[in-house]
Symmetry: D2
């Protein structure tokens, strides 16, 4: 096994994810895997979760999915490590605590809860593809480990800065 | 014991609560207890949680606190039922699921996570004392069980409408 | 509201509870309520949980149910405070942490997990209506806050000793 | 990355593990990794958890640790994927749900809770290095997915039978 560089969380919507959200998630999963990061997400076979896992798989990387349900049936097909919590959305806090850096794509309710829990738990947060209203609220929180970015290369630059 | 009318959650900040947040929480706790609601909150001896519990106690009502830590030491003094989860902020999801209606006071990170989880779990949400940015984001989510109000009497009117 | 004396957990089986288990649970719920204890259990409308809650209700006491599912539909009818965890059997640890003393009736798998978690969390445990094999295993654990009893009056005597 | 064959849980004590428990855990971790299983355990830097992870690492396998605390400081040094739950012993249910088969070494209280939760969740269970009292209790439960074995080769034979 290749030495891993840390665990990066990619948080985003399932059924409500936009095409752009999913493209970002796939590309991010693949770039992170290429750099030997483990990618952690919500693990379901839908939206940002599925796309991130597919991106990791395209580079033979390791993906971890923290699943809300009580069996493996909802897991994305290409996942490496499905973790079955059986605890519904309470698992969002595990997503955040287990990630060295949390990357949030979009701001649907589940993802918003994960951004808020990231700040509450004082973990580093990179926000991507946010609405104008979400950007305004995030900025108003004056959180010093938050970066709002627009491109994938900005994400990779920020990760480099934080993790080396 | 008096017959209870349901469980109302009051969510808000601990150490970061404003004076106004705490006044609202106390008054809301006392009005809800007078109407025989059980009041549920995060249970800690600080901020909105402590004030809500003190308001309930002033009317000999029943308060329930869902505590993040693993023993009773952090519980508010006047609490009726301290529930010890030992699961940190993952307990925020229990706060939301256990409340017939969630009332959020302010929008610090923990409370924001609870508003987001309320929407994610499709439960009714009343938001009070929100910043301009939080109001804009909440409105942008187009959630049909969300009401943003300014006064306590608006809260009581909305509860009446939803719960009878 | 009457002043409460503490929270006593009554743990036992749902569908697999014996007639004797349920009789003990009802009587224990009623005796504890009469002495102004809050009674905490798994909250479901079945077996030891339902019987304990019915016993509490027969004395107008306060019962708390820590439910495994994600809505109120499975709760016992006479419950005072249903807590909705949405976290399945992981909620067994909350049952234990929230109880000043845990009383276990019988030793089906869920109850056995709660006895084990009580010992792991170093909380006081009273075991009732155990099989010969369960008694032998419990004794072999050399746990100094464990009492194995045969009658309800033994339970009340032990609670008195521990809680005053 | 090599294709994984499934996730096998190795449950056992931390500080209270015997020398024999730890030897079994190391050997089992290494044999499972050699056969391309992912090994899941409680993740701490102690006892059966540390030994299982060291065994996996000796074969360049993938180990997953479901940690009870809220940061990585307690994780075993050689772990591949530390999952930070922040939920104490409630995480034992995640250990069980996430494992295709649970292997329990010894019967200290935490491990006993995991064996009981495995049966409660109807997952396959292999018990190793149990006391006489634990064997008697386990047998009395008449659980058809439980096998009590004495040697590592018995474990591997049973896994083969269940997983192919």
């Amino acid at each position: 096994m290749r030495t891993t560089m840390g665990i990066i969380g990619i948080m985003g919507s399932g059924e409500d994810a936009s095409v752009k959200d999913k493209q970002i998630a796939f590309e991010l999963g693949s770039q992170l895997a290429r750099k030997n990061f483990i990618v952690l997400c919500g693990g379901r076979n839908s939206g940002v979760m599925k796309s991130a896992i597919d991106g990791v798989a395209s580079e033979q990387g390791i993906s971890v999915g923290i699943l809300p349900g009580s069996d493996k049936s909802e897991a994305a097909q290409n996942i490496t490590v499905p973790i079955i919590t059986g605890m519904g959305n309470a698992r969002n806090n595990i997503n955040v605590l287990s990630s060295d850096v949390v990357i949030a794509i979009g701001n649907t309710p589940g993802t918003l809860s994960e951004m808020a829990l990231t700040i509450k738990n004082k973990k580093p947060l990179i926000a991507l593809n946010q609405s104008i209203e979400s950007i305004a609220l995030l900025k108003s929180m004056n959180y010093n480990k938050l970066v709002i970015v627009e491109t994938l290369s900005d994400v990779m630059i920020q990760l480099n800065e934080w993790l080396q």
